[in-house]
């Protein structure tokens, strides 16, 4: 767990917020990280953007924004805020321009969590 916490912080995440919300319960943190990996919002957002379904993409992005914020995944939360706002406004082109950056952040977050879970 110590190793995970260090990596979590080094990746720019908010460990303090995560510990505050979970009461520092390591079992709960692990459970939450597993839930995050099992969550399909990212895949739904990607396929909806590809299909040009803006409303659907917005819903998925909004969901990921919410959970990343609650789990203290700060880097991902920040990029999700940007892409969610674009999708909310129907700006699919804008969403595509920030997509690569968002994807890199998502993959980075997933790799930190996968090391742990």
């Amino acid at each position: 767990m110590r190793n995970f916490k260090e990596k979590f912080v080094l990746a720019g995440n908010d460990l303090e917020a995560l510990c505050e919300r979970t009461g520092g319960d390591e079992d709960l943190i692990e459970q939450l990280m597993q839930m995050f990996l099992a969550d399909t919002s990212w895949e739904e957002m990607c396929s909806s953007i590809e299909a040009g379904e803006c409303e659907k993409a917005f819903r998925a992005a909004h969901s990921l924004k919410g959970s990343s914020g609650m789990l203290g995944l700060s880097g991902l939360f920040e990029v999700m805020k940007v892409i969610t706002d674009m999708l909310r406004n129907g700006d699919l082109d804008g969403a595509e321009t920030v997509f690569e950056k968002t994807k890199a952040e998502y993959e980075n977050t997933v790799s930190v969590i996968k090391d742990f879970v």
Binding site: A17, R21, T22, L32, M35, S63, K65, G66, M70
Partner: protein, 234 residues
């Protein structure tokens, strides 16, 4: 003990909320729903099934606002705290129109959640204990964030205008007339203090649960307030 339910589709947020809500001694989490329609069904079958709803906005099926609109057709009393990442004004405005108790944005801090639950408890206490809706009470009802209960020592309205010696006199006089409904002028005359001052102390004792205020409508003119000492042990 208040019954609470969660209406939230995100399992991670649910897990965190369940952990956080368990910290509040007066709350008992009795249900958790992923869809608004399931929660509506539960409330239809169990009209007293909740005092508080923790509600998300975006969920599969109906949104939090659609849920609230449906709920308010039959239930105007249930308190609702929205906890959502929906940060657009139109959603906040619609939630306000549906009479929410509080609106908390994700990601929330523990302190903000405590404040929301404190607001809820303030409103419930006020509804339960208020017989005469004075301006003070209405103000607390509409702005409970200024008066929310986190611990019992934190909310003593206008305590700075209360002189301990005068309070002792008023309390002593009232306790000597325990269970008698006294008009303001009687207390004022007995203690040789103005009605404005006496009223302030009686109102203060009312906030402490020691004095109850009722309205006397048989005066032949304007109804007048009656003050009754009911005891200090709450």
């Amino acid at each position: 003990m208040y019954k609470a339910i969660i209406v939230e589709d995100d399992l991670m947020v649910c897990a965190i909320l369940e952990r956080q809500l368990a910290k509040f001694n007066h709350l008992n989490l009795v249900g958790s729903f992923r869809r608004g329609t399931d929660a509506l069904e539960y409330l239809k079958e169990n009209p007293d099934g909740a005092d508080l709803i923790i509600l998300d906005y975006y969920m599969p099926g109906i949104t939090g606002i659609e849920f609230l609109t449906e709920l308010r057709k039959s239930n105007k009393e249930l308190q609702v705290i929205m906890i959502t990442s929906a940060d657009d004004y139109s959603v906040i405005r619609d939630a306000m129109c549906c009479g929410i108790c509080d609106y908390v944005l994700k990601p929330f801090t523990n302190a903000r959640l405590e404040k929301a639950v404190g607001k809820f408890e303030t409103v419930m206490k006020l509804k339960r204990e208020t017989h005469v809706w004075t301006q003070d009470k209405v103000d607390v009802l509409l702005c409970p964030h200024k008066h929310y209960i986190i611990d019992n020592s934190s909310s003593e309205p206008k305590a700075n205008k209360i002189n301990p010696a005068t309070l002792k006199n008023v309390r002593s006089f009232m306790s000597e007339h325990k269970n008698e409904k006294l008009p303001l002028v009687d207390v004022s005359a007995a203690l040789d203090l103005s009605t404005v001052t006496i009223r302030r102390y009686l109102k203060y004792l009312n906030t402490q649960g020691e004095v109850e205020i009722t309205l006397d409508c048989k005066t032949g003119g304007r109804p007048s307030e009656l003050f009754e000492y009911v005891g200090a042990d709450k």
